[in-house]
């Protein structure tokens, strides 16, 4: 039982609310009492880890602080229970049962059991409800869903699933993954076969010089015929030249194979990333996506080309040398094998501790780079607060940590490799001792045999080191591959139907019909939203942050589909048209305009790369940015830098307006385009926007109410609902939330003036 309390009871996984009650408690309750709910927590009332219980029978609620025989810590008749609540604290939750005169802690558990606490609460409330209504016992089962969210634990093996994946890496079939990796080799099977053949040939050829040691040693002695040298030396020369050629050819073909595969894989991955819906990007951070595209694909490449080839070559070398050695002299061959287990074990241990050290070094590296990433962009703050000294100390401390760790690695490697060399020499020395005596005894075993034997022994030990580490390489590669395949297997959630039609050019008649929406696994962020917008009209969206304004416009762009209701554009249900044909007709100017690195002209023409230069300039004029651009020495060819950082906020804003102008969309979405800029820039932007909105259906998200004053219709959203609707004048007269917001902003602007 103890191990279960500290581990994770299996009942947690299937969400059952009638767990197996331990006998000590079962006996106390009496056999005739029917248990309706039995849930266990993992904390005792004394704040220790240990199993505690909440048990509900037909008439009473029992709280047990432990599984011992101390009896229940509380017994409450169900008729007295008024309410049940879960109180959330740091590191633990408490289920509190309220009676008219007190609040009793009925069950405590760590956050590990948080979903179960909620289920237990709902089950208890269900029981109370049922009692209040008709005194009937309602069966309580695992009917309540988990509170959304992702699965923490693998349902098969119970392991925690790492946050960067949704499949349990312990339960994936390695064979299936490897098979799938090899599919990427298939288009290049000739190249792969050539690489493998070259590898095997190279390994075979490398054995020849060792083999030739025998005739060399046996025949090159005082008084012998020079003919042996005349034949053998040219042969050796040829062998070495052949090795050179084979080695170069192998290197080239395997590199080419690897590069081809990684190119395919990266392209496939990137194409797929572009197709995936926004919800994928909600769930994964930029960093993890980048590491999948860059390092995971790289690891897969290294594996399919070098590791697999090396494995095949090593196994072949090992068996062929092994068989040959046993064939020549089985007694000595057994001697050769004796250090092998030691070598294998030592290599494994060493790579284990070196890996640990490398992890430490890596952790410290990323600490150091985080320090740099903080301090360098923030250098003006550092200087303004005169904290240079502290930043230098901070850096020095971290750099010193890295020095220490690397020194540790160096000292470990410095002793390990000579030690391995020493172990192998011991094997060779044993051969000298035993084999040398055989030679001296004058059996059929010649000095040449001995030299050859020792030569092969050295070649035998090499692959053993590599093979001892192969399982690790295999694990890393399959895990990386799985991460890549996981993305490739993901289906975009907002997908065009097979019978989706191309949206013809629209007039811009937009309707929301009872639209509700919830992000996956989350609460509803839009409830029953309905409105209509005629072609050319402007809609203002107003409301506190988090009210659902941005979500609403994302639905128009079909970044997501509504969970209920429908959106139509000129009568077409958005779900029935191709996303691409819809988005072509919608323009967007975002709160934080996003420019890509490239010239200003390229950024303006982003939505229409084929636009003629005069169109780009015309668009810039409409957007009030042309005059600024002409002051730049590079004009429209000015490079804006990564994310447009070489332009100011107001300039970026107007470039993005020009982008929308050039696209000439029927529907326009503006997300509070005039924040964070000075008054003059604001009026430039406002002018540009007014030109842009002319004659188009526009949806404007505004925090400053002056922006939407002239809108044909204003929707006031609060917590996902439309709470007010009308023109500026109508809403002011209503004197509701909009009126209040207006007065607050008016006060602010008075202060500003």
């Amino acid at each position: 039982m103890g191990s279960e309390a500290e581990g994770f009871p299996s009942t947690f996984l299937d969400g059952d609310l009638v767990e197996q009650v331990p006998d000590s408690i079962r006996l106390e309750l009496g056999a005739e009492e029917k248990v309706l709910v039995a849930v266990s927590g993992d904390l005792t009332p004394q704040n220790q880890y240990g199993r505690s219980w909440l048990i509900v029978t037909g008439g009473r609620l029992y709280a047990y602080g432990s599984e011992g025989d101390e009896g229940p810590t509380a017994v409450i008749p169900l008729s007295e229970v008024e309410d049940v609540e879960v109180r959330r604290f740091v590191g633990n939750d408490v289920l509190v049962v309220k009676t008219p005169d007190r609040a009793v802690e009925a069950l405590r558990a760590t956050k590990t059991h948080a979903p179960k606490m909620d289920r237990a609460r709902l089950a208890l409330l269900g029981l109370l409800h049922a009692r209040g209504k008709r005194e009937a016992e309602r069966p309580v089962g695992p009917t309540v869903e988990d509170g959304g969210g992702r699965q923490v634990r693998c349902s098969k093996c119970g392991r925690v699933i790492p946050p960067w994946t949704t499949v349990c890496p312990a339960c994936i079939s390695r064979r299936a993954v490897i098979w799938r990796i090899l599919q990427y080799v298939r288009p290049y099977r000739l190249l792969a076969a050539a690489g493998l053949a070259l590898s095997i040939l190279l390994a075979g050829v490398s054995l020849i010089p060792t083999y030739l040691l025998k005739p060399l040693v046996n025949n090159v002695k005082p008084g012998a015929d020079v003919g042996i040298l005349i034949t053998l030396v040219p042969i050796l020369l040829g062998v070495h030249a052949l090795r050179l050629l084979l080695s170069a050819a192998r290197q080239y073909s395997l590199s080419k194979l690897g590069e081809r595969i990684i190119l395919d894989l990266r392209t496939r991955l990137y194409e797929h990333l572009q197709i995936l819906s926004m919800s994928f990007y909600d769930k994964h951070s930029t960093g993890t996506i980048m590491s999948r595209v860059l390092s995971d694909t790289g690891r897969v490449q290294g594996f399919v080309t070098w590791e697999v080839q090396q494995l095949i070559v090593d196994v072949l070398t090992l068996t062929s040398i092994g068989v040959f050695l046993f064939y020549v002299n089985w007694r000595l061959a057994v001697l050769v094998l004796t250090p092998v287990p030691v070598l294998a074990v030592a290599t494994k241990l060493f790579s284990g501790s070196v890996r640990r050290l490398y992890r430490k070094a890596w952790t410290r590296w990323s600490n150091l780079s985080a320090t740099l990433a903080d301090a360098i962009p923030g250098v003006s703050v550092v200087k303004a607060f005169a904290q240079e000294g502290r930043e230098i100390d901070r850096f020095n401390g971290k750099a010193g940590d890295i020095y220490e760790t690397h020194l540790h690695i160096a000292s470990l490697s410095a002793s390990f490799f000579p030690l391995m060399g020493f172990l192998m020499s011991l094997g060779a020395l044993m051969l000298w001792w035993v084999g040398g005596r055989q030679v001296l005894a004058g059996g059929g075993f010649t000095p040449g045999d001995l030299m050859m034997f020792i030569g092969f022994t050295w070649q035998f030990y090499g692959p053993i080191e590599r093979l001892s580490n192969f399982s690790r390489a295999l694990q890393e590669a399959t895990t990386s591959a799985e991460r890549v395949f996981e993305v490739l297997d993901m289906m975009p959630e907002v997908e065009d139907r097979r019978d989706a039609v191309t949206l013809p050019p629209v007039r811009g008649h937009l309707r929301f019909e009872h639209v509700s929406f919830a992000y996956e696994g989350g609460e509803e962020v839009l409830h029953d939203v309905s409105f209509e917008l005629k072609p050319g009209q402007t809609l203002g969206l107003v409301g506190p942050s988090g009210a659902g304004k941005t979500t609403l416009v994302k639905l128009i762009l079909r970044f997501y589909d509504p969970t209920e209701g429908r959106i139509t554009l000129d009568g077409h249900d958005l779900r029935e048209v191709r996303k691409e044909s819809l988005r072509r007709q919608v323009g967007m100017v975002l709160q934080e305009p996003f420019l890509f690195s490239g010239s200003i002209a390229e950024n303006i023409a982003y939505g229409r790369p084929d636009a003629r230069p005069e169109e780009v300039i015309a668009a810039a004029k409409v957007a009030n940015i042309h005059d600024f651009i002409t002051t730049l020495p590079e004009g429209y060819d000015f490079e804006v830098g990564e994310r447009g950082h070489r332009l100011s906020g107001g300039e970026r804003q107007r470039v993005s307006i020009a982008r929308a102008v050039l696209k000439d969309p029927r529907i326009l979405i503006l997300d509070e385009a005039t924040s964070f800029v000075d008054t003059e820039t604001e009026s430039l932007i406002q002018e540009a926007l007014n030109r842009l909105m002319m004659g188009r259906t526009a949806i404007v998200i505004a925090h400053r109410l002056t922006t939407v004053k002239n809108a044909d219709k204003i929707l006031v959203l609060e917590e996902g609902r439309i709470v007010e609707e009308g023109t500026h004048q109508q809403l002011l007269r209503n004197n509701g939330l909009y009126g209040r917001l207006c007065r607050m902003q008016a006060q602010l602007s008075v202060i500003a003036e």
Partner: protein
Amino acid sequence: MGRALRRRAGGTGLRFLNPAETRIYWGGDGSLRVEVGGLNHTVSRVARAFPLTAPGKYIALLDEEEREIGWVEEVDRLDRASAEALRRALERAYFIPVITRILDLREEYGVYVWETETDRGPRTFEVTSRHHVREVQPGHVVVKDAYGNLYDIPDITSLDDQSRTLLDPLI
């Protein structure tokens, strides 16, 4: 709230409860109560300002409307019974066991599995990111597991050698 609350730095200052005039106790109905300068409040929440670095200092007492009743500057300066009552409330509001020994710390498929002994009994838990092992002050490490539970190592130098060797690669 008068004289019992020492005001500091005008309206936005912290209202520290004067330890001499403050009494904290558990009521019969299972709620925490504070009596200060003759006024009696129900405390619905106790909140540490620095749960990790100064758990015994700067504790806000809040009422049902989440309004500040006042701040306890230092638990130890309250009278013994009040300090005891407040500690009990804090124990519940912040369950952060102290790791006294690390028996094993291994990586399985990118997840760190910790087998530990804590001051609240043995515990095995999983940590899904190295960023969840955080050095909040030099030598003071706080760990967050896959479910958001916290574990405290106030001073890594007081751990035994094996525990430190296991922990070292992560910090």
